[in-house]
């Protein structure tokens, strides 16, 4: 196998809410205020191969967005390292993020033309007087025409804003797009349009994607490989086909069963008990053990080490 585009190597990330000065002062005189530490990522290791789509699924609090921001270079890891090895020269620009909320991810006071063209001009990819044509070209790639150039974000629908966000990322010729819930805010009929756009851009530009979503259907459709995350850890990773046809980890199985599908006839909803624990205070051993139907004493004591089962890597004592 060739060198991966991204290698995430034992990455952990904590978020610390520092004490305010009043609390530090209180501690000096015998107070007992502790910093709140959120363990967002706990020893995550995975690769993204050139030209593939790696899907990341998991529920809220699983750390998928944090992982996305670290891979996109927007956030440093607390421990471990991310190796990013683009073929082009500008490594900073070669990874770009596509955000969830199409309205908050565009500057409300910037014309579309500047929104998209600013970075390309600032980095000397195009000359200022060529910016307009450059942006028109990009707009065509995402399915918009030149008539939108001098409009503001609020004059667009959610789907159009998503396209503008994609064009802005494409403007700096990235090799990796990190899509964080990029279609979650869109209506079903619009979501299909944007998913098709992602697939088309992958073909025409040879892009690599890290596609983060809570929507298993979307991930199954777009990804070649999938990583399932739970409370800061990757519990299972492997080819989309293997994971969706024969999930090995009890959490993945529960997730797939709970995934809403078009099914006719009266349906009983498969249910796993409980809720995700707080990442401030994750459970001991295997993070999933309080909700796991198969858990025993070992699971609550020892965190499982990832092992290979066929083309799936899984972290469970009983896989």
């Amino acid at each position: 196998m060739s060198e991966p585009l991204v290698a995430v190597d034992h990455v952990s990330r904590q978020f610390v809410k520092p004490l305010g000065w009043a609390e530090s002062l209180a501690n000096r005189v015998g107070g007992d205020h502790r910093e709140v530490v959120v363990h967002a990522l706990d020893d995550v290791t995975l690769d993204i191969q050139r030209g593939e789509v790696l899907g990341i699924v998991g529920e809220s609090g699983c750390g998928k967005s944090t992982l996305g921001r670290i891979v996109a270079g927007l956030l440093p890891p607390s421990a471990g390292a991310v190796r990013f090895d683009p073929s082009g020269s500008n490594a900073k620009l070669a990874r770009q993020m596509i955000f969830q909320d199409p309205s908050a991810s565009l500057n409300p006071r910037l014309h579309v033309v500047d929104q998209i063209g600013e970075a390309a001009v600032a980095h000397g990819l195009v000359k200022p007087r060529e910016m307009r044509d450059y942006v028109v070209n990009l707009l065509a790639q995402v399915g918009l025409d030149a008539s939108v150039l001098s409009r503001f974000p609020h004059q667009f629908s959610g789907g159009q804003r998503a396209r503008i966000g994609i064009a802005r990322a494409l403007a700096v010729k990235p090799e990796l797009l990190v899509c964080d819930e990029s279609v979650a805010a869109l209506d079903v009929s619009i979501q299909a349009q944007v998913l098709n756009l992602f697939a088309e851009l992958k073909r025409s530009l040879g892009l690599t994607y890290m596609f983060i979503s809570h929507d298993l259907g979307v991930v199954q459709h777009l990804s070649s490989r999938v990583a399932v995350m739970y409370l800061g850890r990757v519990v299972e990773i492997g080819s989309t086909a293997s994971i969706f046809s024969g999930p090995k980890h009890p959490y993945t199985q529960a997730l797939l069963e709970a995934m809403p599908r078009i099914r006719t006839g009266h349906q009983r909803f498969a249910v796993i008990k409980g809720e995700v624990a707080s990442p401030v205070n994750p459970p001991s051993g295997c993070h999933f053990h309080p909700r796991c139907p198969r858990a025993d004493a070992k699971c609550s004591a020892v965190a499982p080490v990832a092992v290979m089962r066929g083309d799936i890597r899984i972290a469970c004592h009983y896989a």
């Binding site: 927007l74 620009l93 909320d101 991810s105 802005r168 700096v172």
Partner: protein, 292 residues
């Protein structure tokens, strides 16, 4: 829709309130009156040679020694009150607007630095702001003027000193909210320079709350200047602002010569009222949470 449509829309929202339109009309009228004061008044009230002490404290409608009519009376130095009010407005508005502009600029820079740099910068700046805001504005201004002495420049300096902290705090709050939005993350991801992010992205989006606070604060500044002048700390008695005019007539109020204080008082009231009416509606129009 055209590009100017955001502002056209906001303008339409603004015009939806009649009382705000009335306030705006009144304010424009007052500003025009102040601007064209030399052409609207019958004398230059600051030119002592044009004053005649014999005309002092004449009631409204009286005729003076030179045959001129004192429309709304004269003050204790024989100034025509109408002219004095127009010239006083110039000083009051000028002082209010200039001090606000300077304070806004300082607050903007300081607030943006605090929000963008964060950490220690933010802590130090905001503690200074807290300390500044914990003293009553009038007290700080009084001490400053007592040390600096009288004069327009000095009163502006005093007003800037007591006001910049409001703006710094407002801008920091607004900028922090914007910092957490994804378009700033996107700008960082596109490796734009900090200066570009601050001036192209952060600044324009942090302005609306600042405009609202500034419009309210202009009225405060004018009122504060009037208070200081009333207390005799602002401007020299030869160039009275509205506050000083009120102070000068104050001692005659009980002797029935109401007009010396009354008419400058009305002028001050209308000025502040008109600004507040406009500011109120601006706040409603520019506040996205109240948007329809």
């Amino acid at each position: 829709m055209q590009e100017a449509s955001i502002w056209r829309e906001k303008l339409a929202d603004f015009a939806a309130s009649r009382i705000a339109l009335f306030g705006l009309a009144l304010f424009v009228l007052i500003v025009l009156a102040a601007l064209f004061a030399p052409w609207l008044s019958m004398q230059n009230p600051y030119d002592l040679a044009q004053l005649d002490i014999m005309d002092a404290r004449l009631p409204p409608g009286s005729t003076g020694g030179d045959g001129q009519t004192f429309l709304i009376g004269s003050d204790e130095q024989g100034r025509d009150l109408w002219s004095a009010i127009l010239y006083g407005l110039r000083i009051s508005l000028g002082v209010g607007v200039i001090s606000t502009l300077i304070a806004v600029s300082i607050g903007l820079v300081v607030g943006l630095i605090a929000a963008y740099r964060g950490g220690r910068w933010d802590n130090v700046i905001m503690r200074i702001v807290d300390i500044q805001l914990s003293f009553p504005a009038i007290l700080i201004a009084l001490i400053l003027l007592a040390v600096l002495g009288q004069g327009i420049g000095k009163i502006i300096a005093a007003l800037v000193t007591v006001q910049w902290a409001y703006y710094a705090r407002t801008v920091r709050g607004a900028a922090l909210a914007e910092m957490s939005k994804d378009y700033i993350a996107a700008a960082k991801g596109l490796a734009l320079s900090p200066a570009r992010i601050v001036f192209n992205h952060l600044l324009p989006n942090s302005l609306p709350p600042l405009i609202v606070v500034a419009s309210v604060q202009v009225a405060h500044a004018i009122a504060l200047e009037a208070t200081l002048s009333f207390l005799g700390l602002g401007l020299p008695i030869t160039e009275p602002s509205l506050g000083l005019l009120i102070a000068n007539g104050y001692q005659y109020l009980l002797s029935g010569k109401y007009w010396v204080s009354f008419f400058p008082g009305v002028a001050l009231l209308l000025t502040i009222l008109s600004i507040n009416l406009v500011a109120d509606q601006l706040r409603d129009v520019l506040n996205p949470r109240l948007a329809k």
